[in-house]
């Protein structure tokens, strides 16, 4: 996992959406690297900008409604500078994407085989026989029991888990270096979720791909990720290895999130509740720590004016210095609200 294996370098990327004629930042100044052979999880609650980051990398935004700044360096190319045609050389070929809702993400009127081989039409010069073989191979690889039969079916004839496997097959058809999985298991049952995560992990091992796994589910992160970036209100607030994040979380938001999970042996206690709400796009605070309003008991001088990222140990980065003095109200030395 040396730094020379990084192939995706997101530098200072901001994406703003136009709402009633004005632009509002959905994500601001994101810096991230993705390496080969790793699963990077991006975790946060809804409205924190995780999906916007994914669609920004994929170039799926309508240029008239969005303003994107920064640089997405993918194997030496700045993706954000590409035109539509240039982007299409990457999409599907070197970057694959997996979506949340497996039913609507498949064209209801096309057979599974056609939907998988479509991606090969544009990125390979396979003959139709080769494509057919590859489709069967892929379906087998993602764990579909009867590839021949499934290839001939329509999406509505498959179960949710099967459909998600098909989506994965599409994403990996051209052996991409990067796979972006946006909430790939949210719509699925927990037993299916476990299977899909296994499939993802196996694919990553086999293809030496890098995976960006976007999810709100801390359990999924803990089970699957190698590295984790925690996002809040359009910014990354903490980044580190999965052990660093789960065993020694630093940022108040990370710690609050982990604390609000239902926990073993504390069934009769109340759960921890983070005060307030995630700010909406239009009401995003622009100076100071964006999480400060939700930990009001922490004195204002505990926060930096312009919260910067601080590296605590190799790979473990935290925004703002407030983590040093932060304590929960019920902890020793924590002030009451």
């Amino acid at each position: 996992m040396g730094s020379n294996s990084e192939f995706l370098n997101i530098k200072d990327v901001s994406t703003a959406f136009k709402i009633n004629g004005k632009y509002y930042d959905a994500i601001s100044h994101i810096n991230l690297e993705v390496h080969h052979d790793e699963i990077l999880a991006i975790v946060g609650e809804s409205g924190c900008g995780k999906s916007t980051l994914a669609t920004t990398i994929m170039g799926l935004h309508d240029p008239e409604e969005t303003k994107i700044n920064g640089e997405v360096d993918f194997e030496g190319t700045d993706l954000l500078k590409l035109d539509e045609n240039g982007y299409n050389q990457f999409r599907g070929a070197k970057i694959g994407m997996i979506f949340q809702d497996p039913l609507s993400a498949l064209n209801p009127l096309k057979k599974i085989e056609d939907q998988i081989s479509e991606v090969m039409n544009y990125h390979t010069d396979f003959t139709s026989e080769q494509k057919h073989q590859r489709v069967l191979e892929l379906l087998d690889e993602v764990g579909i029991v009867n590839p021949k039969r499934t290839a001939r079916q329509f999406p509505h004839e498959l179960s949710g888990g099967m459909r998600q496997r098909v989506i994965i097959a599409i994403a990996i058809a051209c052996k991409p270096d990067l796979i972006i999985a946006d909430e790939p298991t949210t719509a699925l049952d927990v037993t299916i979720q476990a299977q899909i995560l296994d499939v993802l992990r196996n694919i990553q091992k086999e293809n030496h791909a890098g995976i960006i796994l976007i999810t709100h589910d801390l359990g999924v992160v803990a089970e699957t990720a190698d590295r984790v970036a925690v996002m809040y209100a359009g910014q990354i607030v903490e980044e580190g290895s999965v052990e660093q994040i789960f065993n020694t979380p630093k940022h108040p938001y990370t710690r609050s999130l982990l604390r609000s999970m239902p926990q073993l042996d504390k069934e009769n206690d109340d759960l921890y509740v983070i005060k307030g709400n995630v700010p909406s796009l239009q009401k995003m605070p622009h100076d100071g720590d964006r999480f400060a309003p939700r930990i009001p008991w922490l004195p204002a001088d505990a926060h930096e004016k312009e919260p910067a990222m601080h590296e605590l140990e190799a790979g473990h980065i935290v925004r703002c210095t407030c983590y040093k003095t932060f304590k929960f109200p019920d902890e020793q030395g924590g002030a009451t609200a």
Binding site: E243, S260, E267
Partner: protein, 323 residues
């Protein structure tokens, strides 16, 4: 006597096919389940999508036409509409829905939404009613200025709390909570669950808590039933289900819960794959020839499992030996 007793409940939907469009088969959404809910407890009903848990909840609250079986409340079978009417059943049994946006009428103000059950079941003066609504809003942690607003002006968590306030309005004995927090973010989920617990403590309400999230269910419920394909496969206390699961389906479900302890994840994964393997191998043993679960057999006073007789005997014996 239990608060509510569900006995051999079946909800089947006919499938019509063939030339004359006759009923040739049926979808057995709920296929003969029985359980009791005690006063003041939270009863968990767990299952994957399509297991029939929501249908069960809707039957208990009277929204679903029951094919056969009985739901006894105050000595009357409320699967009959006339009994529900004569008991003012929904005064005592209310519901919280999963989708908070869809469950609040977008064209009604919050006051009218919360007051709806009051207007139908309790005849209060205007001021009494308004006071009651304000107090209910206060209890779920919302300000009075919510009164004349519309549902879309609130966040998901706030809306779900409005739903809770409406369900509590008539001081019911039982609330059916159908996936009340699955659409919510983690921090908001905590808030709603806390309010539900608080209300239970203060008003002595029972919940039928329907969820697919085993973590949340463990946090909320004392007694739990696991549902699979329209049948119950295991019933027990929290302790029974989480520490001594007996049915392979329960075991498989528990093994699939993601492990948050990062250092144990390899071990956990190996365990899950093992359980998965066992599940595949022993499936015929735990399900009958139609792939359905067997009737429940009592193993301990609190713990029942859907097993064929020979297997049940064996397990009972093992249990005694262990004890």
């Amino acid at each position: 006597m239990s608060l509510i007793e569900i006995k051999d409940l079946k909800v089947h939907y006919p499938i019509r096919s063939g030339f004359w469009n006759r009923v040739t088969d049926s979808v057995k959404a709920v296929d003969g389940i029985s359980f009791d809910i005690e006063a003041g407890e939270t009863y968990g009903l767990v299952g994957e999508s399509g297991s029939g848990k929501s249908t069960t909840g809707k039957s208990v609250v009277g929204l679903e036409k029951v094919t056969s079986g009985s739901i006894m409340y105050k000595g009357k079978d409320i699967t009959k509409k006339s009994n529900r009417k004569s008991l003012d059943y929904n005064h005592d049994v209310q519901m919280i829905f999963q989708d908070s946006l869809s469950s609040l009428n977008p064209r009604k103000r919050i006051e009218d939404i919360i007051a709806e059950p009051l207007r139908n079941f309790e005849h209060l003066s205007k001021d009494e009613e308004k006071l009651r609504v304000l107090q209910l809003l206060d209890i779920v942690g919302l300000d009075a200025d919510a009164l004349y607003k519309y549902p879309h002006q609130f966040s998901g968590g706030q809306r779900q709390r409005i739903g809770v306030a409406r369900a509590v309005a008539t001081n019911p004995k039982l609330i059916i909570a159908d996936e009340p927090v699955s659409a919510l973010d983690l921090s908001v989920q905590a808030q709603v669950l806390n309010f539900m617990k608080k209300i239970q403590r203060e008003f002595g309400i029972s919940y039928l808590f329907i969820s697919h999230d085993l973590g949340v269910v463990r946090h909320m419920c004392n007694n739990i039933a696991i549902m699979n394909n329209g049948r119950l496969v295991e019933i027990g206390t929290r302790e029974d289900i989480y520490n001594h699961p007996m049915h392979i389906y329960t075991k498989r479900l528990l093994a699939a819960i993601p492990e948050t302890n990062v250092s144990r994840r390899a071990e956990h994964r190996a365990n899950r794959l093992k359980v998965e393997e066992v599940y595949r191998e022993q499936q015929d043993k735990y399900y009958d020839k139609d792939g359905l679960a067997y009737p429940l057999v009592q193993i301990t006073p609190t713990h029942s499992v859907a097993l064929p007789e020979d297997l049940a005997e064996q397990l009972k014996h093992e249990g005694e030996v262990q004890a």
